[in-house]
């Protein structure tokens, strides 16, 4: 069953199109990465799903309810953590979470338990009775996730949950998001790729209001490893090595990288689908050079991202 369905959604801010004819769906229990550079339309999409404003054209449904016709039902299904979250600084954490539980319609008897559960899940016990205004950014983000969790909504939408955090905090929040998956449907918006590739089963890449790609992180990687790359560290005369390697059939080009203590680094670009690691090794060793290291380089999600996004801009 599709928990979230978006059909041909277009959104204009005045004359500016923020979203152009976007369609996608998210299955129950799926963790979807929503990826795009800043200003691509991620937050606009999330604002439409959370009924902050309606789409100019198209329909969006959450849990089978239309965002235009039954916004309250839609909002009951969603736990939302907006980008750059700001909370009521004059409230203490537990009281704020109780307030959220109350307006989410959690029965009074269950509020206490629900709040405690959310606090435990986000490891907020230490600051549970502190004022929100006095919390550090990391804790603030956690309170943001906690308020999304309260009431146990079937859909979680987290918009840039790790922005502005230090590396330790980022790791902690990612672990938390991973632990939250399971039964829930999660949309994770981000412009940081490792985050998405780590946590998500499927990734949507959006740029300038248009969907650029929808696939699993692995498939996306495969799609772009058609042009493979090798990295070799060789000690020996630089121009001779370069000449020897570029002479091999299947090698598209060689660029010299940085120097390491054991030799120079060479980045070797290969023709599509060429499997010539053995030939390269033979050529280097046969030429009388010392081969210190040879490995194939996977295309990282970052590169896929840049690739797709720049392809898009070229069109």
């Amino acid at each position: 069953m599709d928990m979230i369905e978006v059909h041909n959604v277009t959104k204009y801010y005045g004359p500016v199109a923020a979203l152009k004819d976007i369609s996608f769906s998210v299955k129950k229990g799926e963790v979807l990465g929503f990826l795009g550079p800043n200003g691509a339309g991620k937050t606009t999409t999330m604002s439409i799903l959370t009924c902050l404003f309606p789409p100019t054209k198209g329909t969006a449904k959450v849990g089978g309810y239309d965002v235009l016709e039954e916004p309250i039902k839609v909002k009951e299904h969603i736990g939302y953590m907006p980008e750059n979250i700001s909370l009521y600084t004059d409230m203490i954490v537990t009281r704020y979470l109780s307030f959220v539980a109350e307006i989410k319609g959690v029965p009074s008897k269950r509020i206490r338990g629900d709040v405690d559960k959310a606090i435990a899940a986000t490891e907020l016990e230490n600051v549970a009775h502190r004022g929100i205004g006095k919390l550090s950014r990391g804790y603030l983000q956690r309170v943001g996730i906690a308020q999304a969790l309260v009431g146990d909504p079937p859909v979680l939408i987290l918009d840039e949950p790790t922005i502005g955090l230090d590396p330790m905090q980022i790791i902690a929040i990612r672990k938390l998001i991973e632990s939250l998956a399971g039964e829930r449907t999660v949309i994770l918006c981000s412009h940081i790729l490792p985050e998405v590739s780590q946590v998500c089963e499927r990734v949507i890449i959006i740029n300038r209001g248009e969907l650029v790609a929808v696939d699993s992180p692995n498939n996306l990687q495969k799609r772009l490893t058609t042009t493979g790359r090798l990295r070799a560290v060789v000690s020996g005369a630089r121009d001779k090595v370069e000449k020897a390697v570029s002479g091999i059939s299947g090698v598209k080009g060689v660029t010299v990288g940085g120097e390491t203590p054991v030799g120079m680094t060479y980045d070797i670009t290969l023709e599509p689908q060429a499997e010539i690691r053995a030939e390269v090794a033979r050529a280097i060793v046969g030429g009388g050079f010392d081969l210190m290291e040879l490995r194939s380089v996977d295309v990282s999600l970052e590169e896929i991202f840049i690739n797709l996004v720049t392809e898009e801009t070229e069109v």
């Binding site: 909002k75 307030f99 307006i103």
Partner: protein, 257 residues
């Protein structure tokens, strides 16, 4: 209903956690106390001067010389204080960015506005309750009539409610509290003096200007008279600006951002 109660509690808490509530209540009590002191002082001076003369004795009554001027003055004080009370209601949440999150929860815009309006009304009620020494002293040392006094309280509450509705609207159209406050204050002053133009325009327009004025409808209340027309004016005034506030909040759907 439950949502309104939850948001109402949050609003009241933030009034009292930030010192806004205490400052406004303190200043209002101080000023109303001072007014009461001077007005009663003047009244007792007049009584000792003219009290011997039978003709003046008829004219000197507490309702007309103490209660009525006191409440007229309190009305003016509220004109200054209510904008401070209402400016933060929505503008603060807009400026801080909490409104977006609040509206992503299953609450209706009407509930948000209703709760905030009720919270400000409660503050108004608290301000008026703190004037309790006034009736206490009047009943201890004089023989005022209860009904006109209650009538004054009703009038000032209705008028204050209208001020708050206007303030809520101003707060809903901006992200800056100061702008909301200045807009409210300016609009209230305009509504106060709009009847000054009545003699400068032709007859029919003059009546309209006179009737639009927010203080003319309060005069009857201070005299102890409840006229449906005045009550309707304040109710319609409040309703109109609450509706505008609602429209302003909804406008995000067609303005977006």
């Amino acid at each position: 209903m439950r949502n309104i109660w939850a948001i109402y509690k949050k609003e009241m808490r933030s009034y009292f956690i930030s010192p806004i509530a205490y400052v406004i209540l303190f200043i209002f009590s101080l000023i109303s106390g001072y007014f009461f002191f001077t007005i009663v002082g003047t009244y007792s001076l007049m009584s000792s001067q003219y009290g011997q003369l039978p003709y003046y004795q008829e004219l000197l009554n507490i309702e007309e010389f103490v209660v009525s001027p006191l409440f007229s003055n309190l009305g003016v004080v509220m004109l200054f204080l209510i904008p401070m009370l209402t400016m933060r209601l929505i503008a603060e949440e807009k400026g801080m960015g909490t409104l977006k999150l609040l509206l992503s929860h299953p609450v209706r815009d009407v509930e948000v506005l209703g709760a905030k309006y009720l919270a400000a009304l409660s503050m108004l009620a608290a301000m008026l309750l703190l004037t309790f020494p006034v009736p206490l002293f009047l009943f201890a040392y004089g023989k005022p009539e209860l009904a006109p006094l209650l009538c004054n309280y009703l009038g000032i509450f209705l008028m204050g409610g209208s001020f708050i509705a206007l303030g809520l609207f101003a707060s809903a159209i901006t992200e800056r509290q100061v702008i909301a406050s200045v807009l409210t204050f300016g609009a209230l002053i305009l509504f106060w003096v709009i009847n000054w133009a009545q003699n400068l325009t032709e007859m029919n327009m003059g009546i309209i200007f006179e009737d639009l004025s927010i203080f003319t409808h309060f005069e009857n209340f201070t005299k102890g008279i409840i006229i449906t027309h005045d009550v309707v004016y304040y109710v319609v005034f409040s309703g109109f600006f609450l509706f505008l506030a609602y429209t302003a909040l909804q406008s995000r759907s067609w303005r977006s951002k």
